[in-house]
């Protein structure tokens, strides 16, 4: 027994990684085959739901991508009119050592591949992902270009969601290569075509790609013009919508339109799925959101900074927030200097620079809350301002902007704070209340619109009622017939 166990252990040990690989491979194969079936089903039933289902599995497939299985699948399903099969196989082969599936390949050669272009496009997409992961950017770029051309030329509605993904990876290749500027013109051209064809998914993806492209080069001017001219398709998927909202929020923030930026960023947060995969997106949105809130004069909630996903990424932003909240100019400058590189990488540095006067405003507000009367010189010292003259201007500007309610006595050189007015005597609470009601109503209306009803579900009911009617008619028929018959019989019986 023990000897046997040892022997089997000895036997198993060297092969176990192989076995694991094999298992992984077979699992991948079943998944791939299932996806291909779904794709075919999607084409025959014209139901894009299946397509989305397939595309949703891309992240998990990406991790388990296996060359040989993919190659086999390409042999089986790839359509010759969709491109050079051999070329595709070679791309897979190049990076590999040897192809274990040489044998099945040969046998399947004789078989005529039957399938849909969707399947071929999907396989190309997987190859592209594989190339991206194995860092063969040049080859991937060439493939992406040719495939995207072909997909657009085919002009099939069932191809649209896959086309969107293909374009996404195409742009991704360019981004990795640092040649984003080169692809912009072609993206624009495709956006035009997609808009004309009412290809919502592709249109949304392309719009986002172009925006990303422009913002990468800080071309806010052009991005703003694009956003104001192009309409984002409403039926686009939530993830594209969330991206679009984020980009729009960015543009608005740069243009000092903070309240709009606030709305957009809030929507971006809500539209994005709350999973681990979207952590990066949430971090980016929150960073900008915190700054926009500060620029609007609001202080972000402390709980935002405590969330486990965000805590580390938002740490520099927390210290900025603290500086703004207390109105401590020197702390603000110190934080800014300390995390400058970080803010630059996040592209929030110029926005944070604008916060300086918010810090001063907050400081003035704090002072006016705590003192009824204070000399200008003390204000100057408390806020670390350079000169008393400037302090006077700054305070008078704060009074004009409605930050504080006070008057300056120039001759005696102090600020006199006025009595605090009752906010509840104004229409302020009503406005806030109205804003919230509007939001709730909009949410309700949108969720009603978003409800999805199964297609042709009412037909079943219709059928059953039809059936019932039919049966009723039959019964009536039967009844009249028997009556007629009996009549006849009675008639017959009479003579």
């Amino acid at each position: 027994m023990s000897v046997e166990a040892v022997a089997s252990a000895m036997e198993v040990e060297p092969t176990s990684p192989n076995v694991q690989m094999e298992e992984k491979r077979s699992r991948f194969e079943t998944d791939l085959n299932r996806n291909i079936t779904f794709l075919k089903k999607a084409v025959t039933s014209l139901e894009t739901r299946y397509l989305h289902r397939v595309l949703r599995t891309i992240p998990s497939m990406r991790k388990r991508l296996d060359r040989s299985v993919l190659a086999k699948s390409i042999q089986l399903h790839f359509l010759p009119e969709f491109g050079d099969k051999e070329h595709l196989l070679k791309l897979l082969e190049e990076s590999g050592v040897d192809m274990e599936v040489e044998q099945p390949l040969a046998t399947s050669k004789g078989q005529q591949p039957v399938g849909e272009p969707e399947v071929s496009a999907y396989l190309c997409l997987l190859v592209m992902i594989y190339l991206l992961d194995s860092k063969q950017n040049a080859a991937g770029m060439a493939l992406a270009e040719s495939v995207s051309q072909r997909v657009v030329a085919l002009n099939r509605r069932t191809l649209d969601p896959i086309a969107a993904k293909i374009f996404f990876y195409c742009a991704r290749f360019y981004e990795v290569e640092g040649r984003l500027a080169d692809i912009r013109a072609s993206l624009m051209a495709h956006l035009r075509t997609a808009t004309l064809r009412h290809d919502d998914e592709l249109q949304a993806t392309l719009l986002n790609l172009i925006l990303r492209n422009l913002l990468h080069y800080n071309l806010y001017d052009q991005a703003q013009k694009l956003v104001s001219k192009a309409t984002f398709p409403e039926s686009a998927s939530n993830s594209q919508m969330a991206r679009y909202m984020y980009y729009q929020g960015r543009i608005k923030a740069i243009e000092l339109d903070y309240s709009d930026a606030h709305t957009f960023l809030l929507q971006a947060q809500r539209k994005a799925p709350q999973t681990h995969a979207t952590a990066g997106f949430h971090q980016a949105v929150q960073k900008l959101f915190v700054i926009v809130q500060l620029l609007m004069g609001e202080i972000p909630e402390r709980s935002i900074f405590r969330q486990p996903v965000l805590r580390k990424a938002l740490a520099p932003y927390l210290s900025i927030t603290q500086a703004v909240r207390v109105g401590d100019l020197s702390k603000f400058q110190a934080t800014l200097a300390c995390h400058e590189g970080r803010f630059r990488a996040d592209k929030t540095y110029t926005l944070i620079l604008r916060l300086r006067h918010n810090v001063i405003k907050a400081g003035i507000r704090m002072i006016s809350l705590s003192y009824l009367r204070i000399p200008l010189r003390d204000v100057c010292i408390k806020l670390h301002l350079d000169s008393e003259e400037d302090a006077e201007y700054i305070v008078s500007k704060a009074i004009r902007d409605g930050v504080i309610d006070a008057t300056i006595d120039h001759e005696r050189g102090f600020i006199q704070t006025k009595e605090v007015a009752d906010v509840y005597a104004t229409s302020e609470p009503q406005e806030t209340f109205n804003q919230r009601i509007q939001f709730c109503l909009k949410l309700y209306n949108e969720s009603v619109k978003a409800l999805r009803f199964p297609l042709n579900a009412h037909k079943k009911d219709l059928e059953s009622t039809n059936e019932a009617l039919e049966r009723e008619r039959e019964i009536v028929n039967e009844f009249t017939r028997t009556e007629f018959k009996s009549d006849e019989e009675s008639d017959l019986g009479e003579p």
Partner: protein, 267 residues
């Protein structure tokens, strides 16, 4: 001259340069040169910074830069705006290998920023700022000047704005600074109205950067309809907070009606 070639255009550009470099340049003469040069460039299709030899591109850029400087001297702001718009592709889209960066690039960008400030186009100002290289943003004196100015304007340190007149990095900046002065004077006046009840005329003059309390100040006060008491030499500002707000009836009615309508939909 029916058709233009590169050589004559370059000669013409030289002539313009000489004229502009004179301390007392003949601006009308320059304008004529510029018009002819622009026609030549258009015929050579060099105005849009698309593919061409680097010499030709440099020539086109030089002409446009000189045009921008000329428009400031002539005080033509809209012409300056057009020249900057035409220069932008040369500055941002053409790669540095094809066209080496111009020494006049950052002074002109800085001037453009200043122009946006004087026109109170703060959104455009920040958009333009985003396109500037981050290291230049921090170190270049031509960019730093408008940047500091904007910050001082935003926080209300008007004294700093006033002082920065003396620290202009290039003589052309003064043109815009003069325009900016009247802008901030109005800005200060609107702050003073709210922040003070009364001010001695002498102090008012210093706050508004008038050299002394004379007719100029009186004129300004009349424009803003401030009352000056000649006995105590004090200026009084009309208090505007007396306006009592009534109930926003229309707004409340429309709001309530929308609520009713929306509720109807739900129930």
């Amino acid at each position: 001259m029916a058709t233009a070639d590169l050589h004559t255009t370059a000669q013409l550009s030289q002539a313009l340069k000489q004229e502009l470099d004179k301390p007392r340049a003949n601006l009308d003469q320059c304008k004529q040169y510029l018009t002819q040069l622009k026609i030549n460039l258009a015929q050579l299709s060099l105005l849009d910074a698309s593919s061409a030899s680097s010499e030709a591109l440099a020539l086109a850029r030089d002409v446009l830069e000189m045009g921008a400087y000329w428009s400031i001297r002539a005080g033509d702001i809209s012409a300056f705006e057009r020249y900057i718009a035409q220069l932008n592709p040369f500055y941002y889209d053409v790669s540095t290998t094809q066209l080496p960066s111009s020494p006049r690039r950052y002074p002109l960008i800085g001037l453009n920023l200043l122009r946006l400030l004087t026109q109170s186009r703060i959104a455009d100002f920040h958009t333009a700022l985003e396109m500037i290289d981050p290291t230049e943003l921090r170190t270049n004196q031509y960019i730093q000047h408008p940047l500091q100015l904007e910050q001082s304007l935003m926080e209300g340190s008007y004294k700093k704005v006033w002082n920065s007149r003396a620290e202009v990095p290039a003589p052309e900046y003064t043109f815009f600074m003069d325009i900016l002065t009247s802008t901030i004077r109005n800005e200060i006046a609107s702050c003073i109205e709210k922040a003070y009840t009364a001010l001695p005329a002498g102090n008012l003059a210093t706050l508004l950067f008038f050299p002394k309390a004379d007719d100029e100040l009186l004129q300004f006060c009349r424009e803003r309809s401030w009352r000056i008491d000649s006995a105590s030499r004090k200026a009084y500002f009309g208090q505007s907070d007396a306006t009592k707000e009534g109930l926003p009836v229309d707004q409340i009615i429309t709001q309530s009606l929308t609520y009713a309508k929306e509720l109807e939909k739900i129930v």
